[in-house]
Symmetry: D2
Subunit: 432 residues, 4 copies
């Protein structure tokens, strides 16, 4: 039997708290899960610093990746199979892309990408196409299979319908993470009736559409998404931890560039500092490596690096205040001046952080970040864009919401031993 069609002698299952069980019958999927690049996702938290706000959110990207695979598997095997519009030859490709779509994520990706200026999606491509165990498994299917998978993950594949199962405004990725993150944090907002949505998904020309009868379940999903963003993903305490994390990386890089002598060689970071990261370097990085350094850096001589690391490790985070950049830039300038005067480096200790989300958007061709809209399949076979049928979605469609906050170390300002007067002025400006 050809490798792509090989089935395990007995179905294997992973016990999953969100989907109850993840089912695997394809040898290819089983082999991919066993690769070291996929196992590495166990050492990268799904939600980065969120566990410092919601202590249950300690789950890994390994968890989530299996979940996305399982949702796609159910859509294909339980809903699409046998429908004339669906080409079952795309099955394995879709399953592999679903499983591997986050493979290139590193530890605390967001901060790393920002400081060291790269894109984790490039690494996903590299892992799929490079000299890896994952690539070896995929190549056994066919020589160009890794390329096919890479294109689906990169959304450049001509198989748009396959792409839309994994990345669109209602895809298996979002459906898994909303439910999973809700489960592990313990908030109730991420719940929606996925069973219902799966049942009304239909392949239709270039895309995956939703039968009109499932519109309300989709509305509920969009509201869940909205709530999860503002209640969990953009929680100001998690953002505070992320601000500190970013500043640690920033400081370490700066020290390296200034030839600072680290007590312990941060060998895992060198290629990041010098912008020369190889795939091999990248794969060595995970959260235990990062946390190792953050812990030993608590004892570095550089006061800023050690302070920031102690804050992160021991969860002694920055406080925050509302901030409106459009109106309060003068206040920020004044605060910056006062921080400098008080001997608190504003580059590291006075940070504006912004979060922004667009819960749903209709199609705006030509605009940045074009988003494929969700289409409803009407009884007569027509397609209608969701916000034209749903009043609730229409009400929020295209409305971007942005939130700015100013982060600072509350304890530094409380300490009145020196610079008493300046700190008082700062506190007055910050209204604390």
């Amino acid at each position: 039997m050809v490798y792509s069609a090989e089935k395990l002698s007995e179905e294997k299952v992973f016990k999953d708290p969100v989907h109850r069980y993840v089912h695997v019958r394809d040898r290819v999927i089983w082999d991919l899960v066993g690769t070291k690049e996929f196992q590495r996702l166990r050492r990268i938290k799904q939600l980065g610093t969120t566990f410092l706000t919601f202590h249950g959110a300690e789950h890994s990207r390994f968890n989530h990746s299996l979940g996305v695979y399982e949702i796609v598997r159910r859509i294909i095997d339980d809903v699409f199979a046998g429908r004339p519009e669906w080409n079952d030859d795309d099955r394995l490709l879709t399953l592999c892309a679903a499983l591997l779509h986050d493979l290139g994520h590193g530890p605390f990706s967001h901060s790393f990408e920002k400081v060291f200026d790269f894109d984790h999606e490039d690494f996903t491509q590299n892992i799929v196409l490079g000299n890896t165990e994952v690539n070896a498994v995929l190549k056994k299917v066919s020589p160009d299979f890794p390329q096919q998978v890479a294109e689906v993950v990169a959304k450049t594949s001509a198989k748009k319908r396959v792409v839309s199962l994994i990345s669109s405004q209602i895809d298996a990725d979002r459906m898994d993470y909303l439910q999973r993150d809700a489960y592990f944090t313990g908030v109730s907002y991420g719940q929606f009736d996925m069973e219902r949505i799966l049942r009304v998904m239909r392949p239709k020309e270039d895309q995956v559409v939703i039968k009109k009868s499932g519109m309300h379940a989709v509305e509920d999903y969009i509201m869940s998404r909205y709530q999860m963003y503002w209640q969990v993903y953009f929680h100001p305490v998690s953002r505070s931890a992320e601000v500190i994390l970013t500043k640690i990386l920033h400081r370490a890089k700066q020290l390296y560039e200034n030839n600072y002598s680290f007590k312990n060689d941060p060998i895992h970071f060198y290629s990041f500092f010098t912008d020369s990261v190889t795939l091999e370097d990248y794969l060595k990085l995970d959260e235990s490596i990062i946390m190792f350094y953050f812990q030993i850096w608590q004892e570095e001589d550089d006061a800023i690096l050690s302070d920031l690391c102690r804050r992160f490790v021991n969860r002694n985070l920055f406080k925050y205040a509302e901030f409106d950049p459009a109106k309060e830039y003068k206040k920020l300038a004044e605060l910056t001046r006062l921080f400098e005067k008080a001997g608190i480096d504003p580059e590291y200790y006075l940070v504006v952080d912004s979060s922004s989300d667009l819960p749903y958007d209709f199609y705006r061709p030509g605009e940045e970040e074009e988003r494929l809209p969700i289409h409803l399949l009407m009884k007569n076979g027509d397609l209608k864009e969701l916000s034209r049928e749903s009043e609730i979605v229409d009400a929020i469609s295209g409305k971007r919401r942005t939130d700015h906050k100013l982060y600072y170390p509350g304890d530094f300002l409380a300490d009145e031993s020196t610079e008493k007067e300046i700190k008082k002025q700062i506190r007055t400006l910050l209204e604390i």
Copy 2:
């Protein structure tokens, strides 16, 4: 206001997926949660290697410790408060002991204790009594408060009723971990009606007893416990990972003793290798430190150390076979001989591992590990030992169940490049 009576201006809550919310009003509790020793528990998994079997089980001891505190708080504030038998002066002591009872746990405690021969409970004592942030907080309550807390955790306190809330055959510790571990693994076995049990708990002389009307809920709890042990805690795949982990530590220590030159100095391990661990050393250790070393040791020259580390990191675990030590010791000797002949060191690659559990026991005074039985409070005020009332508990009471398995590297035996004949004999003996 004295520190011990200080309340937060507004109640704080932690969102918890198991108990919905963990409520904190006492300043002392809030301050303890903020100490670095308590925050360290975030970096130690509650279930060690179990996440390699049940991928959801990535939750930390921080999670569990808050949960135990919350259960005890509810028992005291919602059930015991106001009852004449309960002395509310013990409230803060009980809450602190509940929160801190696992403070001395290190990464993968079980394996560490086995290889380096220490007891994590001694470290709990040291943290509570030593030069730590936790101790500083407790001392603010009163000079002897750390000692009081330490005694409750060590079960040597004269306040037996306080002790029994935290460690007995039906205590807040067990009630939290059964539910929590069930939640994160996703298995249904750990569920029981804790609400009911809390409602029927009563302080009574030296102990905490259960009103007769709650007997069935207690039966259900004991069955949950039984199932969780055999389905989750003793799962042979997790035990396989633990076997490998233990052997890694064992090998590293042996190499160190043989003056092996590590490519990268394992400074965090030195005091463990030389049996001279200080509290400071111990507190530096967490799972990210351990995983850092395991990852770099994958590239050590020593074939056994690097192989075992690769197995652990990439989850390439040992296979297992049923094994009866009483009957099959000859077979084990023969296998040991064959492994040696095949060039596979049996000390590291042929391991017998045993698990054993006693789901419930009545009181056997004088015996090792005396266990306080669960007492039912009858309508007439008498106490009756649980197994005398419950047929189901009676049926399993005092019956120890033990399971032995033989672990070995399946892949080594599959490789037929050399020693073909010997490996074939091994496989025959192992019936694979």
Copy 3:
């Protein structure tokens, strides 16, 4: 001890699938639950005909009434108690009103009220104030206590804050029924984080307000409400059953007025037919009585009455089509004409039914059905109307949605034995 302050010797609990347990300590509450008027609520379904669409929705108003009581009890005892703005003297009054707020509901209230032109709320008043067991219990508290309870239920009480706990846009009534109806139907839409909402409710002057930090939980509640209305309460299949039910009552009344001779005297209906219902008559009515008559009426000689009863009892419901009264009134007239021609009485077999909901409204003084808006309590102590802070709520605030459908018996139109041509024309007009 005065009756109003009497506590049960031991707290009683009702096992409740939604709130886990309903707790009762007050003797007055316990006695009210035991009255025959309250027990009667067991024989009236919470959701009328909905069980014919969602088979799980067989729960009674007894269920719901206990749930509303429990929510109010938790707000008062766990959240409000001890706050200076809350007057604990109102406690018992609030609990009683919560428990009894639906006491006057009859079987399939909506249809009964429509056909026989009365208001179940008048009967709630009558039961509380009349010669009933409920009144006897309340009077034991104080002579004017029944009147006080009646005023709270009728929303005419001067204690506006007490009223707002039981009826406002976010009250215990709505919070219970959304969750309870979701639980029993099995839909996921009714879930929201009630724990969170309870924790952020505050008494404030005349009303109950919500701390700003709980705004997102309230948004989620409003979306749940919206979804439950359109997914469950206004489900066209349930409405079809209700249309038939209404027509049965209508027909029976008409027959009575025309001196039709029923095979079996419908004694329980006489006072309804003659618009002379006494409290005693009313209390005798429940769903088993109604269903008794509907079953025996299946064998009545009147073809319309027996057909409609058979449809209701055996769930052979009307089909439906979208209908726009503003644009399609001519079509309706034409259909009416054709139905008559085909010998199918349009009064009973061609029915327009409309549902309409306003998910949330800000305050429009002077308008019909003034609704008190939800107020947020800002950090600085100010109050802000919800839709001014929440974009999502603003988007749907004040937007009434209405849905019209045309109901008809599909089977009658399929039968082509006679009037073949006319029926074909009808089907063409209905697009079936």
Copy 4:
């Protein structure tokens, strides 16, 4: 296409709170659900009088019947389909038998069967084989199909494997009711991992067996069953209601036999009183009919009948005391004498009721009520009876537990207006 193979153009689903959705694709199943005999099950509660103890338990047998069908459908379509041991020709037969297995249940079956001496299972046979809509649907499949279905339901079919799916010690019937009754009552005891059990079920020769790896899930199921029996099904308050119900029927029959003149002719009961029930009579009976009579009988002249009916309708139940018939028969005789002396008819007001359960039994050929044991399928293909592998099941296997209680009207004994001294003696004997 032949009728038996007809599929609906689009799968239909019922929203189910326990299984999320019940899926129907077969036209035969859809048609059976629509019959009036099946719809009648909506008017019969699954748990009889239990709703008087657990107010959530208002669900009907309609609910449960769909659930059993769904479980069987999943076993066949998701687990058995394609396995060589499974004959898919049996599929429709199994599904129909699952759906219809409880069709003959009447209102409060247990009490009715006891008083009027019949067996509801005979009526199931009659409905399947008689002149009914159900029979008409089944006959369309093939002339002998009704007979085949009837034999499976009666357990006389030669297709033992089909029978064992619907009735054995671990069948779809039990698996549905344990979960469903737990869901609606709100108790946690009925939960077990059905997903797991379904996945390890295997057709094997004459029976359905369980793969060894699923043994713990089966243990958990058996414990759930044990707990549900004692916590819910045999709850003494529900039994009290059942005692009263039985006595009402008993009294009505006795009055009829004594030519008592009912104010309102109980026409629905006549054939029961005279032991001449036809299928047509039987099908007219449901709980609304019964409740109709109980309500009007509250106003009958016979003091016993009206008292008992008032008790049942208004939930004014009997109290109970522990009773050991082996040791306390003298006490019972004495109580009987005293009741008579006090003018309280002991036949109706002093009732011994016994409940008894055998949670699991191995096979005892030749004994009454032979029960097929649960067999585990070992890795080597052998079968082993469950209690030989599971210590917990072994501990309770074959152990029958029986509970006797003595029911009496507490209020009658409290009334001291007359017969003060006798009532005091009664209370002393009853220890109240």
